[in-house]
């Protein structure tokens, strides 16, 4: 099932299916290791539910919800 990253719940696993953004943000996401095929896990969210923290390639990356909106993730459940 393909869902938007914003809809993932804490500790959920998934594989990035597509990143639908070009420009600076797209570049930055790729530089930080977020490319299609990458496995991720939602590590948690800030006290105000935004930004979100992910586990990627053994590191913790944070991004704002409106940035996570561009990322589609394949999840098992």
């Amino acid at each position: 099932m393909r869902i938007n990253m914003r809809r993932m719940h804490d500790n959920q696993f998934g594989t990035i299916a597509a990143i639908k953004v070009a420009g600076d943000l797209g570049r930055r996401l790729r530089d930080m290791g977020l490319v299609p095929g990458t496995e991720i896990r939602i590590q948690g969210r800030a006290p105000l539910y935004d930004p979100v923290a992910l586990r990627v390639r053994g590191a913790t990356i944070t991004l704002r919800n409106n940035e996570a909106d561009y990322i589609e993730v394949e999840v098992t459940e």
Binding site: D24, G37, G44, L48, P51, R57, T62, R64
Partner: protein, 737 residues
Amino acid sequence: MRTTVALAGNPNSGKTTLFNELTGARQHVGNYPGVTVEKKEGTYTGKDFQLHVVDLPGTYSLTAYSLEEVVARDFLVNEKPEVVINIVDASNLERNLYLAVQFLEMGTPVCIALNMIDVAKKRGIEINAHKLSDLLGVPVIPTVARSGIGKKELMERAAHIVQGKKTYGPLKISYGADVDRALIDMEKEIEANNFLTQTYPVRWIALKYMESDEQILDKGKKANPELAARLEEMVKKVSHHLQETLDTYPEAMIADQRYGYIKSILKQGVIYQKYDQNRLYSSDKIDKVLTNRFLGPIFMLTIIAGLYHVVFTYSEVPVGWMERLFRLLGDGVSALLPDGLLKSLLVSGVIDGVGGVLGFVPLIMFMFFGIAILEDSGYLARVAFMLDRIFRIFGLHGSSVMAFIISGGIAGGCAVPGVMATRTLRSPRERLATLLTVPFMNCGAKLPVFALLIAAFFAKYEAMIMFMITLGAWAGALLVAKLLRVTVIKGASAPFVMELPPYRMPTFKGLAIHTWERTWQYIKKAGTVILGFSIILWAMMTFPSLPESTLQKFEIQHQSLLNSVSPEIVQQLERTAVEAELSREAQKLKDRINRLDRKQAEARLRNSVAGRIGIVLENVSRWAGFDWRTNIALIGGFAAKEVVVSTLGTAYSLGEVDPEQSRSLSETLANDPNWSPLVALGLIVFTIFYSPCFVSVVCISRESGSWKWGAFAVAFNTLLAFGLAVLIFQIGSALGA
């Protein structure tokens, strides 16, 4: 000829630690030409060789995403270091190699430091460095920067590369059939026309065109517009094709293939992981508490308040020493020199001015030490993470919060270290908005002004007014930040995407170097400019001196005072030591003479340039209910906010008023018909918002890289403050308060 080695790597890969370990205290900190990115250089001395080491800014990539990346790239291209030492975090190898691959694509001679190999081992990650070295075709040396393990071998291998003079062809990766084919066509064109080839490798130029790299596109347009257009057209064709067939574009395709290439290398027996790589480590367990929805904010408040408390409490003692030192110096010069302009210049202009700057030094050192701990341990990134949602509303960044708090977000900070703390902010627009709004916070120097006015007019509501002042400053700062971000610093916010590095124990060496570097820069740069400003302010409050006729009048009055009593009393006054008990008559005479001296000081101030400006400004400042005395005091406050109190003292003929003990002044104000609670309220608001003191202005200019922003802060803030003060006074008067 000296041999240059560049250190490059991801932020948090231990690059700075390795640099400190290699060069020790023999460092030179400057800026890259034309930008505010720090450039650190040092020398490494080996057995029989010496290397000049340059620390490149930490980057994740060599695209033109941030200033740091452009700076790092330009350095590689223009300065052509003999070898690049790429520090990669062994516990996070896959992502760190993304940068390494880009160096190889550029054809730069690279030597890889496989850093934090101990952390990797602890995490159950085994890395075969030989295998990795064979596959990448460059030396790979395991290191532990914190303890210096591997640094000797690393530098020997680097020196070896330099001596070997082996040329490295750029690494050629396949980026997929469509991109590859287009790249070959583009390379032909580029080579045939010698397009930018003096500076960059051929394939790399083609690759950057494919990635729509703004910097290279710009340079291309200037060098050969016709060919540039043709290349861009070729890219467009591929891009179109990729979008139709694979729903992707060249830039994304290239990144995918780079990661693919890295994965294929790691799969050939380079890395062995005992555990799942997303398993929880102690750092994540700490985060479960420190960024917890409920506990996180509580811990954050406690940690920040604690830092603040420690810094301002413990720096008080050395700040006191500095103040005493400069007072002694001032007294010494006073005693040695005869009364006159030279003495006044040295004492009031030079010593007070320089003392004012150097007096901050212990405070700044403590503050930077505290921030360095938060930064190096990784906690600062968590603060940004937790607070970003709130600060984003106002066009700022989660990381802005530290600067605000240091500047006096909890009343009693200082904008100078606050302005300098904005360096931890990566996004330029948010950083500038933060820089320009932190001076609204209530620094320690504004407090005596508030204390004076509250004591005079609002003594009953002291706590409430202080609370309102703090709240008002925050509201004002955030709203102005928002205003700036939709007007002069307009533009989308930079992507927030950042790494939360694992918690690490900071090393003392790292903290000490960090702290000293920043403190020294402050002393050096701020010191020179501020000395000049301080002399100008002194001159404004000194010249022109009173006309001869007025001076004579005072002299006559002085004489008549002396003549009005018997000569014995005069003698007694002249001979007795300052503290000694005087007879009643002598005491009376002394008081009278003092009163006359203060009157003269008031007359002199009124007659000076500053005084005249104050009087002229009365025409405007009337709208806010400020008279000439307040105007001069506020001009003086440009030197340092607490000067408002002492200058008001002089203007009201009270002599020098100690800002800490302004009781008599507050009584005078309370009884003066020109003053009212309304004027006082207006002045409080004005003091919160008007021009930052000149030390802050110098720092703002320096940190923003332009005097334009320093001037903007002075003009904009003063206008804003005046507008608010007028509003309060006019509305209040209309309501009959």
